[in-house]
């Protein structure tokens, strides 16, 4: 059983669009691309590298895959794992890529991902992939949210928890606070939402 681990830079108001740079994703006129960049910090960087250097395969949406396929093959020294990991890509249009190893999932992505989780192999890490995430969240396929929560609000942009978010409880297993005000929290899926008043 492989876990699905979602790793995201996220603003206080839940936006995950284009944290890395101005041109990363300008859809819907998003004007704040690169909002994560000014918050470089050693403790957060160390936590991030630990995740990036753990054994993983990648599960990506088509747009994120395209961006990565154009970048990582030439930047292997920055993150060898991106190239060696198997990239599982949700797409109804793309069926092959020169960036290997890559496997394309079409049709009922939720069902395909559920099957993938049952197979042996390392955990599946998801970065970016705003559209794919919505499908996974809606079908309760995410086991862990590893979130870097930035001390900003953006007021616009794609959100991690959009319409279709299910009621779900989580357990915090780790939290780190950077000197720059970024809080990294590891949320593990933990059953149904308990109800009942105070």
């Amino acid at each position: 059983m492989r876990k699905i681990i979602v790793l995201e830079h996220i603003s206080l108001d839940g936006v995950i669009q284009a944290p890395g740079g101005p041109d990363e994703d300008t859809s819907d006129g998003f004007a704040y691309g690169g909002w994560a960049a000014p918050y470089d910090d050693e403790a957060i960087g160390t936590a991030l590298r630990k995740m990036m250097n753990s054994p993983f395969d990648l599960l990506l949406g088509r747009k994120t895959f395209d961006i990565w396929a154009a970048y990582w093959p030439q930047h292997a020294d920055g993150w060898p794992g991106a190239n060696t990991a198997t990239k599982y890509v949700a797409s109804n249009t793309l069926t092959s890529s020169e960036w290997q190893p890559s496997v394309f999932l079409s049709g009922d992505v939720a069902e395909k991902v559920a099957e993938l989780k049952q197979q042996p192999g390392p955990d599946l890490h998801i970065w970016g992939s705003g559209n794919l995430l919505q499908t996974l969240i809606k079908h309760d396929l995410v086991d862990v949210f590893w979130l870097m929560i930035y001390p900003i609000t953006l007021g616009a942009g794609k959100r991690l928890f959009a319409d279709g978010t299910i009621p779900a409880a989580f357990k915090v297993t780790e939290s780190i606070v950077g000197s720059n005000g970024v809080i990294v929290v590891n949320y593990e899926r933990a059953g149904a939402v308990p109800t009942g008043g105070l």
Binding site: F145, T153, V177, T195, G196, L198
Partner: protein, 194 residues
């Protein structure tokens, strides 16, 4: 100049509706209860001890006014605090030290006077107005480890782009991230790795 401080229980997906249950019809009302413990209790107690007046929306005020006058032992001083209430309809209350405000300009005027900081709790609609007009100086968030998928959100449409400084943070044993932020200028951008 008084600071406006919004304290809010929110979920991971940003819902702030009815964390304590009871007061409002909401399917998941009371969602914060399972995460309440001594640590949260102590933090809230410390927050309540700080000298403050209250700035409330009309609905939250009515809930407060029907409860707190008889429960000052739980929140010492609440009856003596000035309660500033934003309402288009209400002009007076039996709860002592209640002052009614009609407009954003009234809030701005109170903010400019000398006195204690103004604490906002609950008050979903008022909070939207304050956030939209960049009148919030501090956010005291208790981020609870759950998603609800429905309910009123703290950062709704009209949230402005804003940078903040994290001033205090704590993770409780039940997984609540308590994080206090102060307003700190514009959102800056760059390129990671550049």
């Amino acid at each position: 100049m008084r600071k406006i401080i919004v304290s809010s229980f929110i979920t991971l997906d940003g819902v702030m509706q009815a964390p304590g249950g009871g007061e409002e019809v909401f399917k998941y009302g009371g969602w914060s209860a399972p995460y309440f413990d001594k640590v949260v209790d102590k933090v809230l107690e410390e927050q309540q001890k700080k000298p403050a007046d209250l700035l409330l929306g009309r609905k939250t005020f009515e809930i407060f006014a029907s409860f707190w006058p008889e429960h000052e032992d739980i929140w010492p001083g609440i009856n003596d605090m000035t309660k500033y209430v934003m309402s288009n309809t209400m002009t007076k209350s039996d709860w002592k030290n209640s002052v009614f405000l009609k407009s954003l300009a009234d809030i701005e005027k109170i903010k400019k006077t000398d006195g204690s900081d103004l604490h906002v709790s609950g008050s979903g609609e008022l909070t939207q107005l304050l956030l939209k007009n960049d009148l919030v100086d501090e956010l005291w968030l208790l981020i609870h480890p759950l998603t609800l998928g429905t309910g009123k959100k703290l950062f709704d449409n009209g949230t402005i782009p804003a940078a903040l400084t994290l001033t205090e943070s704590l993770a409780t044993p039940t997984g609540v991230i308590i994080a206090n932020y102060t307003r700190a200028g514009e959102v800056k951008t760059g390129t990671i790795g550049a």
